[in-house]
Assembly symmetry: C2
Homo-oligomer: 343 residues x 2
């Protein structure tokens, strides 16, 4: 981290565990990043009690902003937006809007977070549809995937915007000039895919982006490109399916290693290997999805994140502040539009 | 297997390895099923040489039907259909049409197989769109998923047909009366999902099927229902993504166990456990997707299947012949339509 101070607002009430995970994550982040300031947003009692339990205290780098309401995990986004103007989520986003924080992190309801962030912060000029972008592990390292659920039935133009935003993000956070872009598609159909995907392929091919063509589901985890672009319905199914396969594998492995005395001994001996293996595909390592296309940085943590996982989402926010991702998206989009007008 | 003879036509030229995998699989299936007859369909020289290498010979249960052409794996289905009337795939399907075989199995080009099967065999009365259905492992056992790539942009009515076909299949092969049906959807959107999925949910709710509601991607591998229904674009992405995650896990595990002398010893000790683990999620155990909705039984083997895997696809064909899946689909569909007219 550079010398100047970075301030992040944390929705301390979001996620399955609220302040009991957010506050330890905050304390650990403050410990690691000496120029970081955090604002905990939430209900007074819950925050004070969790802060005390975690052995933390208010100081010049850790402040509290009270908010009386909490957005429920299954609350309708539109109702949360209209009815919860004093929610921890809303106040955290307001702090970004007011310039009091440079980013906010929330483990709350994704739909409500996107709707509220979009309403409060507005989209960047030229961006019609913000998208959710996350990092996923691959055999070669990692890949960025978007949209993971903010939009359904995305148009070709939206898919192009997602590609621009993903490209800017990767340039910023991975320091890759002109990252490769793949369009998620299937290989089975006559001329491949549905109409929107085919149209998006034409738009991407004609752009200045480093578009490498269609990739299939298995290509994602082989690291076939730097950014994979898809509609949010598809992306969310892809993400949840991946989680499901990972859970099933873990379940099978536990069952097999617990089968009898011999397998239990084998498990003991293999423990360091299994730990190393687990770490490589651990979703906690990849926690922190970016809501891209907004006039501000908003990071969504997994709702079930523990404090280690939540602190990784804070790290994502820090990185995006340092590299100024929204400005890079605007720049990337302008350069694409100039190219289009010229051609 | 029951006492009467069952005859299956094998497209011996399909898949990545053609007769060198199909013929050993055929010999092993004949060995296991004493009332089974197989017809190998393919090019004379390739078949004879592979048969000799595998130590097999023509007899009253193994015959050969020559076909001069082969459909390429990336050939356009429409071109294969029009231009390859003497392909091994086409002749194998013709044998089903002519009643000389009760099913056919092919590891060839999925699109061409579906297009040819649909053209030659025709769909069942009341079925507008045939679908590809496969078995996937879950933590509880297995699940049937369709459509896995035959249709893109499926209508609500198509999704309903898929549910009927999947329900009939599970009743037949798993002997489950009234299997549970889930509709693949996402959990993030305002009122969830896209328009087609919402409309399909209304149609399914009003039907006599045992529809249990939406399931998300992770629910598939938790075994949330007996049959999961989705559009073929979504299903194919889901399937390929799952393959990708599985490959990545295997890759990570191999790397970790090969890291140093200690981890190599741990791998040796854990070998029986790792083998048992591998078998539970081994795609070879689940090889053999059904092309449902046709007037005949057509089973698609994975293109990269080895002979063990291909022989599992033959097993699927045998089971569907014994339980007469096409007749059950017709019966199930009629009963649904009667219900609809009555209501």
């Amino acid at each position: 981290m550079k010398n100047k101070t970075t301030t992040i607002a944390l929705d301390a009430m979001g996620g399955d565990f609220g302040p009991t995970t957010v506050i330890p994550a905050a304390l650990s982040a403050l410990d690691r990043h000496k120029n970081l300031c955090l604002i905990l947003v939430g209900q007074q009692e819950a925050l004070e009690s969790a802060l005390q339990n975690a052995g933390g205290e208010i100081n010049d780098r850790l402040s509290i902003q009270y908010a009386s309401q909490v957005v429920g995990s299954s609350e309708l986004p539109s109702l949360a937006l209209r009815g919860k103007k004093d929610s921890s989520m809303r106040i955290a986003i307001n702090l970004v809007k007011e310039g009091k924080a440079q980013a906010c992190v929330s483990a709350g309801n994704t739909g409500a977070l996107m709707a509220t962030a979009r309403f409060v912060l507005k989209t960047l000029p030229g961006i019609d549809r913000p998208a959710i972008c996350s990092t996923l592990p691959t055999t070669k390292g990692h890949i960025h995937a978007l949209d993971l659920g903010a939009n359904v039935d995305s148009s070709a133009e939206s898919l192009f915007e997602f590609a621009v935003m993903g490209s800017a993000l990767v340039t910023a956070v991975d320091n890759i000039e002109n990252p490769t872009i793949g369009l998620l598609n299937i290989g089975e159909e006559e001329i491949k895919g549905n109409e929107r995907v085919k149209e998006a392929a034409r738009v991407l091919s004609a752009s200045k982006l480093n578009y490498i063509g269609y990739i299939e589901g298995d290509g994602i985890y082989m690291g076939a490109c730097d950014v994979v672009v898809c509609d949010g319905f598809i992306g969310n199914i892809m993400l949840k399916t991946s989680e499901g396969v990972a859970k099933m594998f873990t379940h099978f492995m536990k069952e097999e290693f617990k089968r009898n005395l011999f397998t239990k001994i084998a498990a003991l001996i293999a423990t360091p290997v299994l730990k190393a293996f687990k770490k490589r595909a651990d979703p906690r390592e990849y926690n922190g999805a970016s809501l891209l296309g907004l006039q501000g940085i908003v990071i969504k943590s997994h709702g079930g994140a523990d404090s280690y996982s939540f602190s990784n989402a804070i790290n994502v926010a820090i990185l995006e502040i340092e590299t100024n991702v929204p400005a890079l998206i605007t720049k990337q989009l302008e350069s694409q539009l100039v190219e289009r007008q010229a051609s």
